[in-house]
């Protein structure tokens, strides 16, 4: 697999799309200069092959095909841009009125949007066009009448989001007029989304016009690409060989315009949603060896410490300043070690880096040994993950897959080292171990409270009886009583199973109740480490002192 690209494709595709559109636009603009003949009146004998006077021959009426091709760009672009502008204007109006006024206006408008969205696009356009006539303007209006709903819905959702923004709320509180707030704060911010929708509608409009024209519902007085294809088709161009100059050029011209809009639209969508554009989201653990055989980890305790980290340096991608700047520490066997630091101190990055779970292309340097074996390679990390090192990830609320029962998710982990039926029994046993009543075992994650989910994740991390349990902020986001019960659980499990535990947290006071060893981190560096009670009672560094003196208020904010 190739490495991650520096930039997302949006920019390149967007440029390419604009080039394609510019090409068609210049054909449309300079049509009279490029084509010598009229696109509608005969200028030669019918059905001529391409020759000097007619670069693409003539059609069944003797009209120059090249002229039709060049002038056709005008129709496609006019329909695309015209219908899109109209649809966007309607959509924007509906979105802003519904999203800003709320109340019954919103109810009616959004119901109308839903109904319009429910109708399939092309059939509705076909039927409307069949009844309302075949002029170019009618076609554009019909297409717009059907396609305003998608922009309306997308923009409406955005207006709802924007009106809750603080500066918008503030402007409203200060009694700014609705129109001014909307035009200053809402409309400007809708631009990226609106342009993405504009291009989308334009794209669909070009294809629909061509389809309508091909089906005989186009403006018969205009030579559009769809009509050219329809004429060629009804004159058996496929059989006479005329397809080479009569069908391929308009067909590919259509494709070029549609592709131009499609590429530009993709770029606009990246602009509207930067998440799409970021390339740092690649996950290395999605590639690699297919299936490792279920292994029973060799039980060979290699002395103390169980985990040793030397001069670990981690940066999120090549060329960026490191987040972890040469960290060394040890995790002694059979004890609870706490890695403490404020958010941004690099504590989670250390663990994720050690286990090969960082997204993107991080650079991890230094040395780390687990049970005497080197850890810092993708393969080595994959060998120990879940088998010998259990990880309780941050954000337990979302760390369970909503689609599977908790029991299935634990059994699945246990299956790495045991056959399925034993894995299922193991899951039941583990859920009991972490204090979940049997009635909850077949529950889905959304049916459980935060504390219960945290317990499930701990059970999951223990599925294969690891030697080391790493818990990343295991109590964050839980209420104080639950925090205490989770800590009691960790300590109890450690005693019962002979585990070694590494807890990562920002909450010194909380972790001091259970930790034996303390490693204090500041800005990617270890400032102090040692026996927890010693460090806590007599910190030698300024930073440790300050950190130890911060107390958490019951609400979790620093007092």
């Amino acid at each position: 697999m190739s490495s991650t690209l520096k930039r997302s494709p949006g920019r390149t595709l967007g440029r390419l799309g604009l080039v394609l559109l510019a090409l068609s636009a210049s054909a449309a603009m300079f049509a009279p200069l490029v084509a010598r003949h009229s696109p509608t009146r005969p200028s030669g004998l019918p059905l001529r092959r391409p020759g000097l006077g007619h670069p693409l021959g003539t059609d069944d009426l003797g009209v120059d095909i090249f002229a039709q091709l060049v002038y056709g760009a005008r129709i496609s672009l006019a329909i695309g841009v015209g219908a899109a502008a109209l649809a966007l204007a309607i959509g924007l109006l509906v979105a802003v009125v519904a999203g800003w006024k709320r109340g019954w206006a919103e109810a009616v408008l959004m119901r109308l949007t839903d109904v319009t969205l429910a109708f399939p696009f092309l059939p509705l356009v076909l039927v409307l066009a069949a009844f309302l006539g075949r002029g170019l303007v009618t076609t554009a209006v019909v297409i717009a009448a059907v396609s305003w709903a998608r922009p309306a819905r997308v923009l409406w959702a955005q207006v709802l989001k924007l009106r809750e923004f603080q500066h918008v709320q503030a402007a409203r509180a200060m009694g700014g007029s609705g129109t001014r707030i909307v035009s200053r704060h809402i409309l400007t911010r809708l631009t990226p989304l609106a342009s993405a929708q504009f291009v989308r509608v334009a794209n669909a409009a070009v294809i629909s016009e061509a389809a309508l024209a091909f089906l005989g519902l186009g403006d018969p007085n205009q030579a559009s690409w769809g009509i050219m294809l329809s004429n060629a088709s009804s004159n058996n161009a496929l059989l006479t060989g005329a397809w080479k100059w009569w069908m391929l050029p308009p067909g590919f011209a259509l494709t070029v315009v549609v592709l131009g809009f499609a590429f530009t639209g993709y770029a606009c969508e990246e602009w509207a949603d930067p998440r799409l554009a970021s390339t740092s989201g690649r996950l290395r653990f999605l590639s690699g060896p297919r299936r490792r055989p279920p292994t029973v980890a060799p039980v060979a305790p290699a002395g103390d410490p169980i985990l040793e980290v030397r001069d670990l340096v981690v940066s999120y991608r090549r060329g960026t300043p490191p987040a972890v700047k040469g960290v060394s520490f040890e995790v002694p066997r059979g004890r609870i070690t706490a890695l403490v630091g404020e958010s941004g101190s690099g504590k989670s990055t250390i663990v994720m880096g050690l286990l090969g779970l960082l997204p993107g292309d991080p650079v991890v340097q230094g040395e780390a040994t687990f049970e005497g074996r080197k850890l810092l390679s993708a393969a080595a990390a994959a060998r120990v993950r879940g088998r010998r090192i259990g990880l309780v990830t941050q954000a337990a609320m979302n760390a369970l897959n909503p689609a599977y029962t908790i029991h299935a998710q634990i059994a699945e982990a246990a299956e790495l080292t045991m056959p399925p039926d034993r894995a299922r029994r193991r899951a039941t046993e583990l859920l009991g171990d972490v204090g979940l009543p049997a009635s909850a075992h077949q529950a889905y994650p959304h049916e459980l409270s935060g504390g219960m989910r945290q317990r499930v994740i701990i059970a999951m991390a223990l599925a294969n009886s690891p030697d080391l349990l790493i818990a990343d902020e295991p109590t964050t986001g839980l209420d104080l009583v639950t925090q205490a019960s989770i800590l009691r659980l960790v300590q109890d499990l450690k005693d019962r199973l002979g585990l070694t535990v590494l807890i990562i947290t920002h909450d010194v006071q909380m972790v001091l109740r259970v930790a034996d060893e303390l490693v204090i981190l500041e800005d990617g560096r270890v400032v102090e480490r040692g026996d927890a009670s010693k460090v806590a009672s007599a910190p030698t560094e300024d930073y440790s002192r300050r950190l130890l003196n911060t107390r958490l208020s019951p609400l979790g904010a620093r007092a």
Binding site: L122, W243, L357, R385, L391, T482
Partner: protein, 352 residues
Amino acid sequence: MADISLTPTEAFGHQSDSRWSGLVPIGRQFLRALPLAALVLGVAVILNFALPRLAPGDPIDFLVPAEQANAISAEQREQLAGSYGLNGSEWEQFTRYLGNLVQGDLGISTRHGRPVTSLLAERLPWTLLLVGTSVLLSTLIGAALGFRSAWRRGTRSDVRTLTGVMVADSFPPFFVALLLMLLFSVQLKLLPVFGALPGTEAQGLAFAFEVARRAVLPIAALTLAGLGSAYLVARSSAVSELGEDYVTMAAAKGLDPSGVRRHARRNALVPVWTVAMLNVGALFGGAAPVETVFSYPGLGRLIYESVLSRDYPVLQGCFLLIALGVIAANLVAELVYPFLDPRVRRPGKVGG
């Protein structure tokens, strides 16, 4: 031993497993989808009544083939108006129209002189064959490519596939149909050009084979037409699932790459399913250009013929059937969500 039991606050959000009967969530989804379905049907019925009357000119002009327009007398016009339900006040016309609709009477085709319903019944199976197969294929292929792109996001391979699918998606479906016909029927002479049914009296398997041979190219063109949307939605929903914490957790608990991908894929299926059902609705009449190229006797081709011959009763019937098709696809989509997402199946309380 420490007390590790659940604290009251922890247990608060928990809902014990109350063994929903499988039918409850389906019924709930059905009720949820019903208002929109009713609204869509209502709008379709009203549009159907209003469109010929909104159209420029006398509706009778629409009903009479252009070449006979001058040949009929005022008396004949009256008669025609009567036979098409165009006499009396607008309200009378509307109630009569509704009455007929309820009885399943969609009128008589002006071109074929047969009941519209029998024409629709004749064409519907062919469209279902094309639409069903092509949506199935485009969803399977599109989703497979989209997921693959998502796993390789940001790499050259992802960009290549993305660009390739966008290019393929930009070919207008009827142009693709023409190109396919050119290549396979005209140049290589491998596949028949027209229609759906073999001319010969083939029986059994041979018959099925002949029907399949005639359906291959239209299905290929329609599959390509639906590929882009399936690919794009699969890619973007898988990408957004990959950002979720449960994916990292799946890797952390030791699953191999295919296991981790399975977790993300399972949740990315919901939008893929939604788009597949949207495509079913869209292709119901939207296959018209492709069916026309291949003279395939489906609903789309019927629309085309009716437009050309100004067979407005048939056109109205098609429109109504398309609306019904969309409503059905929508309902099916809703009814399947509970199977795809347990949060829909068992909307329990989320505890904190």
